[in-house]
Symmetry: C3
Subunit: 388 residues, 3 copies
């Protein structure tokens, strides 16, 4: 555990240890109040996020450390065209651990390739936001006493919701977890996640009724339904109210159910729900501070092995030769009998317009073999599948 870029970078055992450490910090805050004295956290926020940034900063301060950084790209040298790789190498001279948020997918992964200190991904576009997932797990675990055997009802934008995808994948590592997926038809959970649920043998059901979904839930996870996701305003207005949690709907929910939300909310949870004891989204933000304390502490205690960042293994001058047969597979041909390289470097470009490779200078284009049977490759940074 050198860097934390994706929630799945952590094993179940590592997550268990983080949750236990967070619990111990909550119970004995004084014992941790000076653990990071003399250490510095850099918060590199290339796009603003109050909650995430302040939660990291509060975490470091409560460990006795100090904080420096920037809160938006406009107050950083990114406006001068500096690459993420250079920023991270320089800031590694000034800080002991870096929390980084960036609008491009894969940005934190690029940081991890070049950094001489631990990098925590604090959100890279629509890609990953592991400390949110850890926050969700801690909140659930503290209130349910377990992560196995739970029924999670996920509601809202299940198509584009990064936090929801991460949470589902994180929970799929536990036993007897059931999912109820509540969304309008336009915003259903992507097929590739449903495929993963099927492959793992997890029970799930899809519905467009929040009332129906929450009736059976241990955990209700709300997310926002954004107007811009709909083709026309009429559809949005018609559907919106169905996905607003209010006092009436809470009457239908189990007495022990807990309500989570990654925040910020706009109007998807009515204010009257805030005073319901089952509404835990503000306490969830508090859990976010404690799990970040646990994570910073763990990374700093384990820090080491940064002498030779892995970027040294990627030669920007290297170029994988692509025989005609491999090119055909990349264009969709049957891979049977073709010897596919494990890695393709600087031969094809990532087509994802939000990938960090579209803006980062001097970065090798790298794809790794994702599925030899299907002949699919994934971008090393944003993890999007290669498209011909």
């Amino acid at each position: 555990m050198k860097h934390v870029i994706s929630p799945l970078d952590l094993t179940v055992e590592e997550i268990d240890r983080l949750l236990a450490l967070a619990d111990d910090i909550i119970d004995h805050p004084q014992a941790y109040a000076h653990k990071c004295a003399g250490k510095k956290l850099a918060t590199l926020f290339f796009e603003p996020s109050t909650r995430t940034r302040l939660s990291f900063e509060a975490a470091m301060l409560e460990l006795g450390g100090s904080v420096l950084g920037f809160s938006s790209a406009s107050s950083s040298s990114a406006t001068k065209g500096e690459s993420v790789a250079d920023t991270v190498r320089i800031v590694g001279n000034y800080a002991d651990v870096i929390a980084m948020r960036h609008p491009k997918e894969g940005a934190a992964g690029v940081g991890a390739l070049f950094a001489k200190c631990p990098i925590i991904n604090a959100g890279d576009g629509g890609h990953q936001h592991p400390t949110q997932t850890l926050t969700d797990l801690l909140t659930i675990h503290r209130h349910k006493g377990r992560l196995n055997g739970l029924t999670l009802c996920l509601c809202g934008d299940l198509k584009f919701g990064r936090t929801v995808h991460s949470l589902v994948r994180a929970m799929m590592r536990y036993q007897d977890v059931r999912f109820i997926l509540v969304s309008p038809d336009e915003l259903r959970m992507p097929t590739y996640i449903l495929d993963e649920l099927d492959a793992g043998g997890f029970a799930y059901e899809e519905t467009d009724s929040l009332e129906k979904g929450l009736a059976q839930a241990d955990v209700l996870y709300m997310t926002r339904v954004q107007q811009e996701r709909f083709a026309n305003r009429e559809d949005y207005l018609r559907l919106r109210d169905s996905y607003i949690l209010d006092g009436e709907k809470m009457k239908l929910a189990p007495a022990e159910m807990i309500v989570l939300h990654p925040l910020p909310r706009v109007n998807e949870i009515a204010p009257e729900v805030d005073d319901d004891p089952r509404a835990l989204y503000f306490e969830q933000a508090l859990c976010g501070k404690y799990i970040r304390m646990a994570l910073i502490l763990t990374l700093l205690e384990q820090a080491g092995g940064f002498e030779k960042p892995c970027a040294a293994q990627i030669c920007t001058r290297e170029k994988t030769a692509l025989p005609a047969r491999v090119l055909e597979v990349l264009q969709g041909a049957d891979p049977a009998g073709v010897q596919l390289p494990e890695r393709i470097v600087n031969a094809v470009c990532c087509k994802n317009p939000h990938c960090i490779t579209t803006t980062e200078q001097g970065l090798a284009q790298v794809f790794t073999l994702a599925d030899a049977d299907k002949g699919t490759y994934r971008c090393l940074y944003c993890e999007h599948e290669y498209q011909a």
Copy 2:
């Protein structure tokens, strides 16, 4: 004293104690250097203000505490539409006390309704800026040795000047205070403040001559005359120089008079005045740091009773029924014989375009009975009178 939203939230005794504490901090800074160790101040500045923010931050640092926050809305989640109520609830998980500046009137009051930690209003639009008033009182008290028996000459924009209105009202709680009100005709002190002076039996005079005004003053309080307040540029240019304090005018002032200014100044005090020993506006900024130390310390020592923020008492679903007779009173009819409700909830809206209710989601519209004899109501947040 849980929160400080308006200077009048504090009793005269509480102000006395704050001034005495600030004096003691000035005399014995080392005794206070670790008083807030392990505590955190959040500076939530939804609009920028160098002096106010840095003065709060310096105050907390000199108490041994630490600071987090943001310095403009563009680097906060407010750009994602998060409400003040939610921001304050979340940040209450990360900090022990919040200093908040917001462009909307009543914003800090909304914060106080929802926060689980003390809120200090660091300026809410044209509404209140209590720590500026406390700064003014401390500076005057330290240099005059008293707040009773003083003649204050207030000069400049007395119509829109928030700091001037607050200072007058704060000084009206002391004995034998006289006011000389120097302004162009366009920018005279509002009638409702003159009415308060009359009602309190305070001597005051209005004049358009700064020379005449300062000749009798113990304290000269300068403010800026902004061009945009005038209907045409000619009037502005004609009048402007009369309200610029320069070396010549200082020759007419008493030897013991002190000059204050809330800063920033643009050109209303000529640079040559800066070296006059009576010019105290930079020392005033220093007093601002010490009174904020006293305030933070006092609020943190008293902090408690935040388990159930008062917002819980305002049901956003509640709606006051307004009988026809009450509606008529709201529209200007004689209130005689009408049973007026103490509070009107979600029945009428605040018409002040700068009120926080114009932007804050999920906030109940609340008016409280201001004057039963006149049948007037005030907005709970921005304190503007209800207008039909």
Copy 3:
């Protein structure tokens, strides 16, 4: 050494002591970890610069002090028209030392006139950036063991490059230093610097070949060649590659040569050079932290004598009478036999559009006699020669 505005404000002995102190800090960081406990650094960045700001902040934190400030003008009161002089006087109440970056030339010098605490110039437009020069000197000294007897190859934009001009002038105070000046014809080193080299008896050569230049160098100092410096894009594209340092060119360089760059780079050093042990630009950023620690520590230990800032000596009402003969000299006439005043106040204006006098209110226009034989004057702030 009250303030550090220009690298030449420091004597060679003062620089020697700073370098020795930085070396000692590097060797014994723990001995310095609490040296500035209770002290505060204000970072006033009127324009953004991640590296410089974070390096100052890390420096102060590693000395046990704390930091406040702003990272761009948009989050400061400069947007309200506050002068640098007022900002610095106010912030002097909140901090013990100020690091200031400003887009206008001479801004830090104006700060130093008014401040009651030490000011460090962290870059004032195209004028000076002394901590960058000190960083360069520390990096060279640590890796070469000396500053005398070195051959420096400077490459790129030598015409507009502020850091290059400062470094040349700083190195001209040492013995047996040779300069190789590599640039396209459009961006050659300005004549006045070549004149200084000639006057000092320094060996130098100009060339447009980086290959040729680096073959003899002890130190290669790279800078960026910006497209906007060229009259047309063709010239830029044609020349650009000649000034990009890559793996091929590094093969021609001496084994002991070191490569420096003030950063951020855009594409003038190819990524493959980063792994070359001679590439020291990231370590240079680390040296930047240590030299700033040495500088902050030294300034705070020596701090004193700020009771009466020198601005008091410049009367904004003063106006130098200019006899016809002096006016003629200002317009280019022969100064022979004319009694020229040492200082001209408020009689003529600085014509440099980037001078702080173009924006700062209430600042006296001051020119000092630069060369009595030639009859030339220099602006006190931006040091540009007066032009009729």
